[in-house]
Amino acid sequence: MRRTESSSKLWRRQKFVRTLLGKHGKVLTWTKIHAPIALVELENGERITGEVVDYQNEDIKTGMKVQVVLRRLRSNSDDDVIPYGLKFKPLKK
């Protein structure tokens, strides 16, 4: 299927993305579709979903603490904008 990337859509999304960078949260539930994806509750109660990166297999469990990081999401848009977005990194104990 054609993915219709839009630079303005990516730009609009960045305004939201930057408000969450660096925040801490904990995993409420997760799945693994090649990579792990988690539903996370941030310390302010807000919930978001995203991929977990920089993990060891044994890290992934419900209740684990994570930090929101900025990572590339997929391949470039047609006009070569690199789509960045939110992912989670395990917080080391």
Binding site: M1, T31, K32, T49, E51, T62, L73
Partner: protein
Amino acid sequence: MTAVVGYYTTKFGELWDKSLYDLVEESIENALKDAAIEKEEIDAVFFGNMLGGILENNVHGGAKISEFFDSHLPIFRLEAACASGGIAFHNAHNYVKSGAAQTVLVVGAEKMTDYPTDVIVSALSAAASGEEQEAGLTFPGLYALLARHYMETYNYTEEDLAYVSVKNHYHGSLNEKAQYQKEITVEHVMASPYVADPLKVLDSSPITDGASALVLSSNKDVIKKAKTSAKVLSTAVATDSISLSKRKRLDELAATRVAAENAFKDAKLKPADINIAEVHDCFTIAELLAMEDLGFYKKGTAGSVVKNYVTKHGNGNGLVINTSGGLKAAGHPVGATGIKQLGEVYKQLTNAASKRQIKKANYGLTHNVGGSGGTAVVTILGATE
């Protein structure tokens, strides 16, 4: 009184020699035959379809169906992801009830096997929120999040989910229109590869082609002339946030709960009155949630109920769930599913379900879900005799 007076479904499966509208035409033609009426007697058509626009660049299905009727009758295409069929029926029923028409045809159809799996999975994600799509969540992924939460909250294992699939495959073996007519075991489910951990291939409904159609009428003569009929007692739609992250609870689909409460209230019935239910088991976890959210079992208990096969055909006189094989074994052509569920209940209530006929069928319920619970349609039918 509004009643279902005829029904037909195509075979569900990989139907490579048939297009979307070949399937639509086959189901319409035969549903009219089953209802013993001519196409000129149809006042309006409601068409449930999700993917035509995304996959085939073809959204104006109403006008396409007009070619078959060779007339200028009103035709509406309705979309609510995997609940497109259910929502088409709901609106058709309201249209008849309002007096805008007496006899309408409702058809649901989907053509899914023309494209590779990744294209279909991506097209189906159109029913998820932008944020979930951006996170890389597919529909198996969203239900996997719900499955893990349910398992961890109520202490169930992956094996506990597998029983749903075993039961529904047994029912599929009794349905000559089902995509899979083969029984499976818990071991088969457990040995199948992960799609989205903890959900495996055999926890998941397949990619399917198919179309189902029914005729709905308030016209006394049409109802009298029909071989068999079943009364529509109520139909209710409820919605919820599209994103799981915006839901208050992750151990239920609140849209199902609310739609069911309203449907039972309107029908003046309670869950214990229902003999047969077709529920939206797009994944095994979805049947467990439905059993609880529809009010049949207490929250957190469905996992132990399915292990004893209480809801399986032939096991006692209680509620039987998904005699068609459900989405799991009968197949899930998304727009058709909601109509097939109604058709299955209609067959059970009119004693026409052959090998899978249940003993006592006075009241039946259908439960059709769009997305991961963003839309739910619950309909209750009753036997006429």
